[in-house]
């Protein structure tokens, strides 16, 4: 099954989803098409007019273009997703996934889609690490 991961560029989630036999949906795959097939100076910092228009499907016109531009990349992944894993408590608010408003919008869209969903926190010690991995494994095995 296709599993959407949040944060959408997470190494840990991408690896775990693949390890337990599913297909992770991440922004790396989508951005690869953009950076190798289109003429863009510094994606994802630059968005095209088409991207902003695509983003209108996921957010209203009054929403800043940065949010709509990001949603133009992430939105189609949510449409494709059959299940999702959200990891909260991310300590970083920087870089391409650092837009908090987009992240809130993203989580709202996932919850609204009513697909199987699991929400966790980043682990702080080994015990929490064990709980996180066992929960993800159980969730992914139940999807098969």
């Amino acid at each position: 099954m296709k599993i959407f991961i949040v944060p959408p560029n997470s190494l840990i989630l991408y690896d775990l989803v693949e390890r337990f036999g599913h297909q992770p949906l991440s922004i790396m795959g989508t951005l690869r098409e953009k950076v190798t097939e289109r003429e863009m100076e510094a994606p994802p910092l630059n968005v095209t007019l088409d991207d902003v228009m695509k983003g209108l499907k996921y957010a209203g016109i009054e929403v800043p273009s940065g949010v709509r531009g990001r949603l133009a990349v992430w939105g189609p992944l949510i449409d494709e997703a059959e299940a999702a894993i959200i990891v909260n408590d991310t300590p970083f608010t920087f870089g391409c996934v650092g837009c908090h408003r987009t992240n809130l919008m993203l989580m709202h869209l996932i919850r609204k889609k009513k697909i199987p969903l699991i929400e966790l926190d980043y682990p702080h010690d080994e015990e929490e690490g064990k709980i996180m991995v066992s929960k993800i494994k159980k969730f992914l095995e139940e999807l098969k």
């Binding site: 560029n9 190494l11 953009k34 920087f94 870089g95 010690d125 690490g129 064990k130 066992s134």
Partner: protein
């Protein structure tokens, strides 16, 4: 670049005895027609999607619970990201944070492999007002 080409980031957990040098030598020895770049955290590999997946399977066998991989959007040596060309690294904070968390995930993978039961932790209790007053009144020398 063909649609079937894939770039993968291979990251070694800090608890592993494996070094990036050993990892890249191992991949070279496999003799597949792919590009390999040794990095500070492990290696980046690029090539035909099927070949890259074969390599990943072989690499995982070296240290199954301490080697992690994900797809990378930018090709190896892309001027927009490569440090040799002063490329920006907006995803570095994420990678650094997750690299530090890898030993915790490794513990989780080992526990799951061993069939260890991982019961939910009881939620942490809130500090009572009484206790807070006691702390505030303590004499700190």
């Amino acid at each position: 670049m063909s649609e079937e080409t894939e770039t993968r980031m291979i990251m070694i957990a800090p608890t592993s005895d494996l070094t990036p040098d050993q990892l890249s030598r191992f991949i070279h020895q496999l003799g597949y027609n792919i590009t390999i770049k040794e990095t500070c955290y492990g290696a980046n590999i690029e090539g035909d999607k099927d070949l890259v997946h074969k390599v990943i399977q072989e690499v995982r066998r070296l240290d199954p619970n301490r080697i992690f991989t994900k797809v990378r959007a930018y090709p190896i040596g892309d001027e927009r990201r490569c440090r040799a060309h002063h490329g920006s690294r907006p995803g570095f904070n994420q990678m650094e944070k997750e690299w530090m968390d890898l030993p915790l995930i490794e513990a989780g993978l080992c526990a799951v492999e061993a069939g260890e039961a991982c019961p939910e932790k009881s939620p942490s209790k809130k500090l009572s007002v009484k206790k807070l007053m006691e702390i505030a009144k303590e004499n700190i020398i």
